[in-house]
């Protein structure tokens, strides 16, 4: 484990207020999800998951086809599609367009994809003002932090934190009432919306047969971002494409439920090109940035490419016993929780944080709640194997290898296995029932001691199952 990962985990675990905040917020989201997919409300929940999985599988297996179809249809509606391979290309495109149109101010709605490429920082570095408009994201931008959670980005911030951030950065009087804090943000951001030259959004879905971008949100900031400025740029990963508008009936029923337990989010925008002749408002220019940024590296492996089915609902975070303890900022990249643990090593390479796929108990809860049925536990296992294979000979733990070889030998030699079991039972501390937390000297050494410092071992029973079976 890298020192940084280790240290962030320990800081989070030691912070009682933060522990309570994470646990309460994820617990509430989790409960609401369960209520909203209950058989009484959504009887065909499992069929919808199966359908969503099938559509995603089909889309990814024919990704080039649907991207080209999407592109044709966007262009038929007078929009433009721009393929970008990485963060630099996205920033270059936006900056180039801003320069041509003499744009100064950008408003942004929430988008994990733009977080991924640090778009705000890159634009601001070149003198463009870029303002986040989702309340949580706005707070984090003012605090210079990255999202803590895919759908609840500022869940680690209290009203007192927000009061401090607002007084310090916006020079407003200290305000700790949440409604009034929201009103402050509304007022400040309303001016930005009306003055902005460019609106940048993400996309929840790209619809191939319509050339449309679909954006789901609750606050109305994405609607304003895509309506008020004369230029709208949607930034989306290439994996977001689905074949037909009719498939939205399946995905929209799953997305809001899995994310926040709502039947539908407050606003679902289906946007196809700039405003048309006669339409009174809406942007004059419409661009869709299709971002690779490592996604194509996930495609060759049939199991691992499932990671690209993700619709960013955050349900796996809320249900994950590990995320609920170590929180979002312990994770080494913008994506946290189980989905972060499978996406990050594949995008950045397993060497980026080799212990990440191991930060899981493999309990399987993430796979069970995933609305598109990504087999997250299986992918974690494959990534663990990749990590081990990628380690150099010297780095590979010789004792661990030896232990596993001995284990494999025992498992394939039943008589020896039984003998070892009996020896273990005879040597184990005989205080009956309690867990083994330590071993007596001289066994309490080096790797054994380190291993037990993180784990408790059940004592071996006096009689093995085989013995009991024989005496039956």
């Amino acid at each position: 484990m890298s020192a940084e990962f280790d240290q962030k985990i320990h800081t989070t675990l030691a912070d009682a207020n933060l522990q309570l905040a994470i646990y309460t917020a994820t617990g509430r989201l989790k409960e609401k999800r369960v209520e909203s997919v209950a058989p009484g409300i959504l009887p065909d929940y499992q069929e919808l998951r199966t359908q969503a999985n099938a559509i995603k599988q089909h889309s990814i297996e024919n990704l080039d086809h649907y991207l080209e179809e999407f592109e044709r249809n966007v262009e038929a509606r007078r929009g433009k599609v721009v393929y970008c391979k990485d963060a630099t290309e996205v920033a270059d495109f936006v900056l180039g367009l801003a320069k041509e149109r003499r744009a100064r101010l950008v408003v942004k709605s929430k988008s994990m994809t733009t977080e991924e490429v640090d778009l705000n920082e890159r634009l601001e570095h070149h003198g463009l003002e870029s303002v986040e408009t989702d309340l949580g994201e706005y707070i984090l931008q003012l605090a210079h932090e990255r999202p803590y959670h895919i759908v609840a980005p500022a869940l680690h911030k209290t009203r007192y934190d927000v009061a401090e951030i607002f007084t310090r950065t916006l020079h407003v009087p200290n305000e700790i009432v949440i409604e009034k804090q929201t009103a402050i943000a509304r007022r400040v951001l309303r001016e930005k919306f009306l003055a902005a030259d460019i609106g940048i959004s993400g996309a929840n879905f790209l619809v191939a047969d319509s050339g449309a971008v679909v954006i789901v949100e609750n606050e109305g900031n994405a609607r304003l971002t895509t309506t008020a400025p004369k230029i709208h740029i949607a930034v989306a990963g290439i994996e977001k494409v689905i074949p037909r508008a009719q498939d939205l009936a399946t995905f929209l029923k799953l997305l809001a439920r899995s994310a926040t337990g709502q039947l539908l989010s407050v606003y679902t925008s289906f946007l196809a090109g700039p405003r048309r002749p006669g339409e009174i408002d809406g942007p004059d220019e419409f661009y869709v940035v299709l971002l690779d940024n490592g996604r194509t590296k996930l495609l060759p492996d049939r199991t691992k490419r499932q990671s690209l089915y993700c619709i960013r609902c955050g349900a796996c975070l809320n249900t994950c016993p590990v995320y609920r303890k170590i929180g979002g900022h312990s994770f080494p990249w913008v994506y946290s929780g189980p989905i972060g643990a499978i996406i990050t090593p594949q995008f950045m390479g397993v060497a980026h944080e080799p212990s990440l796929p191991f930060a899981s108990s493999l309990c399987g809860a993430c796979g069970e709640v995933c609305p598109v049925k990504i087999d997250i536990p299986k992918i974690l296992l494959e990534l663990r194997s990749d990590v081990k294979k990628s380690e150099t000979r010297e780095k590979q733990n010789r004792i661990e290898k030896l232990a596993f070889r001995a284990f494999a030998f025992l498992m394939t030699h039943p008589r020896l296995y039984e003998l070892a079991g009996r020896m273990g039972a005879a040597m184990a501390p005989s205080d009956g029932g309690s867990w083994i937390r330590n071993l007596p000297a001289p066994m309490n050494i080096g790797p054994v001691r380190a291993w037990l410092s993180q784990r408790d071992l059940p004592p071996p029973p006096a009689k093995s199952f085989r013995e009991m079976w024989r005496r039956r």
Partner: protein
């Protein structure tokens, strides 16, 4: 160019060649339940009220107009150019601006108005949603900038839900550049998971079904 590189990388990775035919996608899954108009209206009311919105029935357009007039009560309002609002007499109510076709003017009026009044192209009974298609009749900002939104919807436009919507409109992009589903008032729970309504969009929503 990155376009060709990316498409090439995708094809190599998934084992396809350019222009290769595609097997049919899984059949679409659209099931429209049986629901008479009375139960659709009842469901609309339950869902909208559950989201802290207001929902009313009106027997006639005239009654709807009276409900709108009571809601305006001296405040300023902007109405969309939907012919149905004019038919009901709503655009002629005192304090209501309507008939705007210029973008900048619309933006100024909407930013200053207390109430935005629209019709809706459809409504979805099982979620209590309004479906707004952008057109010369319905601008986007009327349902977005003012702090309160009132929608007046003829009852025959109430569909059962998403499945029926995408059956009626298999490809909304043919009709419009923007279709928005509105389900309740604008809201957030970004600070301490406390629900606050009216963040960037309207904090109050009223649906009148005629």
């Amino acid at each position: 160019m990155s376009r060709d590189n990316i498409l090439h990388r995708i094809r190599t990775a998934i084992g396809r060649s350019a222009g290769q035919a595609v097997a049919d996608p899984p059949p679409v899954r659209l099931h429209i339940p049986e629901a008479d108009m009375e139960s659709r209206i009842a469901s609309m009311i339950v869902r909208i009220e559950a989201l802290a919105g207001k929902a009313y029935r009106a027997d006639t357009g005239k009654n709807a107009c009276a409900t709108v007039a009571a809601a305006i009560a001296g405040k300023t309002a902007v109405a969309s150019n939907a012919p149905y609002l004019a038919e009901c007499g709503i655009t002629a109510l005192p304090g209501v601006r309507s008939g705007i076709t210029d973008r900048d003017e619309l933006r100024q009026v909407c930013a200053a108005a207390d109430i935005g009044i629209t019709s809706a192209d459809y409504a979805l009974a099982d979620t209590g949603s309004l479906v707004m298609l952008s057109s010369p009749q319905e601008a986007r900002l009327v349902s977005l900038l003012p702090p309160a939104h009132i929608a007046v919807v003829p009852r025959e436009r109430i569909l059962t839900g998403l499945d029926e919507l995408f059956t009626v409109l298999p490809n909304p992009a043919i009709q419009t550049s923007s279709m928005v589903l509105i389900t309740g008032p604008s809201r957030t729970a970004d600070i301490e998971q406390i629900l606050v309504r009216g963040v960037h969009g309207p904090g109050q929503i009223t649906v009148i079904m005629v």
